[in-house]
Amino acid sequence: MTARADIPVSEGSDLPRLLGVGVISIALLFAAFILYAFGQPLFGAIMLALATGFAIVFGARRFYGARFIFPGIAAVLIFIAFPVAYTIYIGFTNYSSFNLLTYERTVEVLTSRASVDPTTEQPFAVAPDGDNFRIWLPETGLLSDPVALDGIAEAQLNPASEPSTLLERRDAIRLREGLGLLTLVTPDGTIIQNAGLRTFASVTPDYQQISPDTLVSADGTVLTANHDIGFFETPEGERVPPGWRVAIGWDNFERVFQSEGIRGPMVSIFVWTFVFAILSVVLTFAVGLTLAVILQWPHLRFKALYRILLILPYAVPAFISILVFRGLFNQNFGEINLILEALFGIRPDWFTDGTLARSMVLIVNTWLGYPYMMLLAMGFLQAVPEDHKKAAALEGASALRVFFTITLPQIIPPFLPLLIASFAFNFNNMVLIFLLTRGLPDIPGTVIPAGETDILASFTYRLAFDNAGQEFGLAGAITLLIFVVVAAISYANFVAMRRAAQRRSGRA
């Protein structure tokens, strides 16, 4: 049953509301304009859409109901759906530390590069002149006309005697922005510029832009912009860094599937991600369920105490306990190895041996995850009718048999969506991998950082943020592959949840 949404709002309350909506819409439009003006047309467009949506939903009376969900939907669209789409888009670009900038910025960077002629280099000092400054070149005895040093400026140099007051070096350094934009003209017409913190010299730019897509270097080489690869190229096809971001189609995906150095570790990581997620679910579920069954036993005393102590691993923030385990498992002075050595004389290489590192990840994850399963299982176990179990026991079934034939089949269906959700969570359980092993030890013979304990999500993170390459494009492409898997999982969960809901309503 739903309430009717189109109940008339009391008369006369429209004006102040429309006024408020108008003010906020204009503020949002202004923000959109600012974003556009700063060279972010995409974000500007999103802001514009937000402003329009806001004005329509809160302005028109017929969208009264939509007003309630507008903030939530907008937040989800802008901060979840849009980044997901944007990540996929990045997967089709060459965005990386080699192709970091926009085209305009690349041209700016290249044309602002300049070579200093060392023979003309000479130290300078700044002399204050009222609100303005004069530049004093002691080696040639030249003093400039006064300049304000607050923007692009040109000043004539004339022979003069040394000014009586000169600024301290650190005060002069504070003016470096203005100094950088200053051009001085010597009496013989040479143009000199600020060439560092201490000197002026004649400076020639390395590249000059002669047409939108062509630069000419000081030695006459013509560079042409290649918008397919995002680099300026010499006639011989040599690339001149830095590059800019361009869309490169399916290239990243081709790299993933064809480059031996990427495909090998990718397959291994892919398999491990599934193994890790499945084993995590199975282990936490098994341990949690066992404990729940024991705690459910009517003859057991101190239940409340046991329960509180058993959920402690869940109550402590995960990032802290994971780091604690990182310390305890330390190979050289970690407490776990000290105890193992005292008892059995072994010191396992928890962090350098691939298999041991993977076991450690699973041990820690089971420790972290079993209380959640235990708590859920305790709830579901209570729903299993006691007389079913009694009947089976009277028939002579053993406790184990009763559990596996009566109890388990009854709690698995309601548990299923939660198990799938847990699988999805572990599939992307980056916090654990990141804080515990960082994905190490590395898989030998790879061209990209890939570790034995890396799961797909942490692998992507390392590609994008952890190494010198900053392969955002490649990371985006791999993320799209993860999305496909996650989408399949979420659909499975969706179906499982629907079924659970139907069963419940069917029973009710």
Binding site: A3, G39, I294, A315, P317, R326, G327, V431, A457, F494
Partner: protein, 296 residues
């Protein structure tokens, strides 16, 4: 259960308690170790569970105080733990409050107001919620890197950016609260409508007061989730003074500067409040957790 022979029962009891005690000893071992390490001298030393020469050095450092050793050397705190804690709590509270407002209002609408395409939107939200934000990290980084050029206030290293991203994680909470609203008798809103209340008034004066328990559950859950987040915060926050606890704590166990003892004290100091909050709230939290995932 079935009547059992007293002798069997006794053996079973002993076995059950024995199992529990051994299991607990294994499970709680890390906690005892950390407590012991936080009182030990130095950052590498090896020792028994009860330290031979207990020292408060690590605890002084965790609280941001200089510590003077017996030989006169002064040790300075390696990292601003209390500042990180404050950052985490501040971000968690603001984002948690934002999530609560958005989720409660949306959940009410999804539960009670007739909107075109509502069920499609609900399904969409459910599917989106399965995509963790951590997968869009590359884009999130690129977006806030670009926004930072417009205003540093919105860029990398800004708490505002982090709060905005966190607030978008409302989908699961919308489902949780909607499940609660769905269980409220529709006679209540009919009565309100007959008295002439608008849907907003019905929400404000009838549903909001009723929702306080589930809202506190959602708030605590969201808060704990934000405090525990590592991936997003680590991508967006780079400078030490802006870090949250989760990002900062990692610095302690660096290969080149391994501060095991200092970490232990800092970990207890920062973990204890959250643990206590959780233990107090856990009974309500668990039902919230399972309801949110199962209710259709």
């Amino acid at each position: 259960m079935i009547v059992e022979r007293p002798k069997d029962l006794l053996i079973k009891k002993i076995l059950a308690h024995g199992f529990m005690l051994i299991f607990l000893a294994l499970i709680l071992f890390p906690f005892f170790m950390v407590l012991s390490i936080s009182f030990r001298e130095g950052n590498f030393s090896v020792g028994s569970i009860i330290p031979e020469n207990p020292t408060l050095e690590h605890w002084y450092l965790a609280f941001g105080l200089d510590y003077t050793r017996a030989d006169g050397t002064v040790v300075e705190p390696p990292y601003p733990v209390l500042l990180w804690m404050w950052n985490s709590i501040k971000i968690g509270l603001i984002a948690g409050f934002g999530v609560l407002v958005i989720a409660t209002i949306s959940a009410y609408a999804f539960s009670r107001i007739r909107i075109k395409g509502k069920s499609a939107m609900l399904d969409g939200l459910f599917l989106i919620q399965m995509f963790p934000t951590t997968l869009a990290l590359v884009a999130i980084y690129a977006i806030f890197d670009a926004l930072g050029e417009v205003s540093p206030f919105l860029g990398l290293d800004s708490h505002v950016a982090l709060i905005l991203i966190y607030m978008a994680g409302v989908t699961l909470h919308i489902w949780t609260i909607k499940g609660y609203f769905d269980s409220i008798d529709t006679a209540l809103d009919k009565a309100a409508a007959i008295d002439g209340a608008t849907p907003w008034q019905t929400f404000r004066f009838i549903f909001l007061p009723l929702a306080v328990p589930i809202m506190s559950v959602v708030f605590v859950l969201a808060f704990i989730g934000f405090i525990n987040d590592y991936p997003i915060a680590s991508v967006l926050i780079r400078s030490e003074s802006q870090m949250t606890l989760a990002v900062g704590s990692r610095l302690y166990l660096n290969e080149f500067r391994y501060l095991w003892g200092d970490f232990a004290a800092a970990a207890i100091l920062s973990g204890l409040p959250i643990t206590v909050v959780f233990l107090i709230a856990q009974r309500y939290l668990v039902s919230g957790l399972s309801d949110g995932a199962v209710k259709g």
